[in-house]
């Protein structure tokens, strides 16, 4: 079976200071095998080391619902990394 058959492709959104830090509002990421939101964040932290220090002050969403870091990703998911919110 070709390895590509298990790959996962997701859309990734960054907001606020995370958008400035990564230089992306939107990106797409691909994994060869199963992955979680935590692993997705680690992927971008490897590219943008400053991102790692925001890990404890970021929450994630999957398909527009807040999601825990161990949430598994599925192809087509829209994952967003959200800094502390400051509306109002």
């Amino acid at each position: 079976m070709p390895p590509v058959s298990r790959s996962i492709r997701v859309t990734v959104l960054f907001f606020g200071r995370l958008k400035e830090l990564t230089g992306h509002a939107e990106d797409s990421a691909e994994f060869a095998d199963a992955a979680t939101i935590e692993q997705l964040f680690a992927l971008y932290s490897a590219r943008h080391p400053e991102l790692a220090k925001y890990r404890s002050s970021v929450v994630a969403s999957r398909n527009q619902e807040f999601a825990s870091w161990d949430t598994p990703l599925r192809t087509g998911d829209e994952v967003a990394f959200l800094p502390p919110v400051s509306g109002g």
């Binding site: 200071r17 969403s61 527009q64 807040f66 959200l82 509306g87």
Partner: protein
């Protein structure tokens, strides 16, 4: 998207918020009270003079979260109508950034619901503001929304 089952208004806008129209919208003959919250841009932050603010949102999720707050309001309080509007983009000192109006037959429910609405919006709706000063700009200190693990929610039927 499913039609919201109340005659409410939930919006993100880039133009000035028409607060009089929203306050009028929630009033109806069977009500006896409306409580409004008008949040507007302060001229300083931690004693630094503010020049202006710039708001951005995860718009689709922000609107969904605002509607969720509305559902909670109708579940928790004996209220009639809700209007909840947040403005995005560049806002000047004194501009209304968020406006909430709640009507009810009796005032206590309207007060309580309006307070719950703004407090919950500030904790859970993905909107961010950047504060611009004479010597630079910073993202405002925000609040960390509760995670999914902390607040499990049933998947709404759509």
């Amino acid at each position: 998207m499913a039609t919201f089952p109340y005659d409410d208004i939930y919006q993100l806008v880039r133009e000035p918020i028409d607060i009089a129209a929203l306050a009028r919208h929630v009033r109806s003959p069977e009500d006896g009270a409306a409580v409004t919250f008008d949040g507007f841009v302060r001229n300083q932050s931690h004693s630094r003079p503010t020049l202006y603010l710039d708001y951005e949102a995860y718009e689709s999720m922000a609107l969904a979260k605002m509607r969720e707050i509305g559902v909670q309001l109708h579940e928790k309080y004996s209220i009639h109508r809700v209007a909840m509007v947040h403005r995005l983009g560049r806002l000047e000192i004194g501009d209304t950034s968020v406006f909430i109006a709640v009507s009810a037959p009796h005032r206590a429910a309207a007060f309580d619901a309006c307070r719950f609405a703004i407090d919950t919006l500030k904790r859970t709706v993905p909107i961010w503001k950047k504060e611009y000063f004479a010597d630079g700009a910073v993202w405002a200190d925000g609040e960390l929304p509760p995670t999914a693990a902390a607040t499990p929610r049933a998947k709404p039927a759509s």
